[in-house]
Amino acid sequence: MDHNFLKVVVGVIATLALYSVLYRENKFYRLVEHIYIGLAVGFSMVALWTETLESSFWNVMVGKAAVAATDTAPAQTGTPGFYLFALLLPVGLMGYFVFSRKHNWMSRIPIGIILGLWGGQQIQIWWQTYSPQLQAAMRPVLPTATDSIIVPNSIRLSQVATTEISTASTLPPEVVTTLSNNFRMNTDAVAAFAQANNVEIGSVQGAMRLMAGKVGGEVYASQAINNIIFLITLLSVLTYFLFSFEQKGKFLLGFTRLGRWLLMVGFGAIFGSTVMTRFALLIDRMYFVMIEFLRDGLPRVFQGG
């Protein structure tokens, strides 16, 4: 049995042991559960040194001596040793006084430093996080184009605009005008249009993009309605979370109720998405048991492969 298959076998046994809790809690489950916690804690002890403390603490504290160049390697500059970092060890260890009845107040020193550092960052990050979102939420609610309720497939071009698109796309102006009657077409329709007008497909696509861009610069009634729905959702959900004062009045109460309903849309989406993740994890485990072990692993062992 090779190393990789051995890993798979042990993994399958562990999986079955942990799944046995679905029936009810049992000793097999508890045994594997304890091995799992032991290994996880053990690995964290290793990783805290190898992945973090060695570089962020030890190497900074001790520094590094300069190394001269060799035939194969270039010279390396040294780094100074910041010996005051040694103070972090007693400070960090003070955290462990949390278990001492007499001195547990001392554990608040390292924890206070971490919380203070976190708290101090909050002022700066608040604006950096939410100002782009506030900006993005400022959406136009009044339509700027009245020729259509929904975003149209056609555009009425002025003489100047026709010339502009004609020059940019190298299509004759009359073809541009024809195209402006329907500038959203699928590939087959574009090819047919190009052939019928004896022009390049790429030029037609270019002109279509320019026309879509012109339409995109306008706000149509349907878009304005969408934006109003967006703002109502945002404001009503925000209102729902106003706990600082008592909410009175029919309008405010109705608005917060609407906020609660609309919030459920968000939660529904989160539920759907969460279910996907949970099932994906199960599928991955089943793939491990059914495919990596049963279908691919076992036959290889029996065939001596």
Partner: protein, 301 residues
């Protein structure tokens, strides 16, 4: 003597890296640190809160200064600051990597608290032969095996970097891979995948249409779940295409499942979650200020 690190460029409170002097200074600092710690053990009760509050405030004040102090223009190391404001600004910016290393170190040392807690709980249970002490023994054995193998593997790879890749693995690397990839990771994956069973059964038992809220929740969840199924979404698009003849500008396209999902996502789900996030943001800001200024009632008492 080779000294690529010129003495004159040494920053304050530092010595030549890797030198004997470095280790001497570390030993002295450690002794001083433990002496301060011992001194704090005898601190009078009335001084305890001010000490914890001051330390918390000073730590947070650094980041407030970093944010509020005028930022110096990017100066080359050889350039001198124009005035005191710029000099302080530069000092604050230059101190950031050091502050970051301090917080990484303290956070890592505090993460060790969890480890210590597990160790303490299970060693007590084992020593006193309490209920399930055998499980505690298993836990401790697996923990120390992982620690031993993990460090042995790390040191061997440092000494012989060819052992980092599977082609150069020795027994210790195989052992570490077996423990980490074969056991720990499999158990981790199995443990978290169990939730899928519970979620299925909970949805069946509890996901009921009883009110407007639950109806909206269920309706949206169904739309999202159907749209996550690529096949259903694709079929819905094809059905619409067959009605519109594949015309991308046709009004009916708005009723394809992907479009409906997209509309909900942009206009209702997005702002709803955004409003929730803003609320949490304001909460975090006020919590941050309360923690920094030790205004939390239980802080520092």
């Amino acid at each position: 003597m080779l000294n690529l690190l010129a003495q004159s460029t040494l920053p304050p409170f530092s010595v030549e890296g890797g030198s004997q002097q470095a280790y001497q200074m570390i030993a002295i600092t450690l002794i001083a640190g433990f002496a301060i710690m011992a001194g704090l053990m005898f601190a009078p009760t009335k001084l305890r809160r001010p000490i914890a509050v001051s330390v918390t405030f000073l730590a947070g004040f650094y980041y407030v200064l970093l944010w509020a102090w005028p930022k110096p223009v990017e100066l080359a190391t050889s350039e001198k600051p124009l005035n005191q404001t710029e000099a302080i600004g530069r000092w604050i910016t230059d101190a950031l990597p050091g502050v970051s290393s301090i917080s990484q170190t303290l956070a890592a040392l505090l993460l060790g608290l969890g480890v210590y807690s597990v160790l303490r709980l299970h060693s007590t249970r084992l020593m006193k032969k309490q209920k399930d002490w055998l499980f505690s023994l298993v836990l401790l054995i697996s923990m120390f095996t992982m620690v031993g193998v993990g460090y042995a593997d790390y040191n061997q790879v440092i000494a012989d970097p060819t052992k980092a890749s599977p082609s150069g693995w020795g027994p210790m690397q195989y052992a570490k891979d077996f423990l980490f990839d074969g056991m720990l990771q499999s158990m981790d994956a199995a443990m978290f995948s169990i939730i899928a069973f519970f979620i299925l059964f909970a949805a069946y038992r509890a996901f009921r249409i009883r009110s407007v809220e639950s109806t909206v929740l269920l309706g949206t969840a169904l739309i999202v779940m159907f749209s996550l199924m690529g096949l259903v979404e694709y079929a819905s698009k094809n059905a619409i295409d067959s009605m519109t003849g594949g015309d991308p500008g046709h009004f009916l396209n708005n009723f394809a499942l992907s479009e409906v999902r997209d509309w909900i996502q942009r206009n209702v789900q997005g702002p709803g979650i955004q409003a929730l996030a803003w609320g949490i943001g304001i909460g975090s800001l006020s919590m941050g200020l309360r923690l920094w200024l030790s205004l939390e009632k239980s802080g520092g008492n």
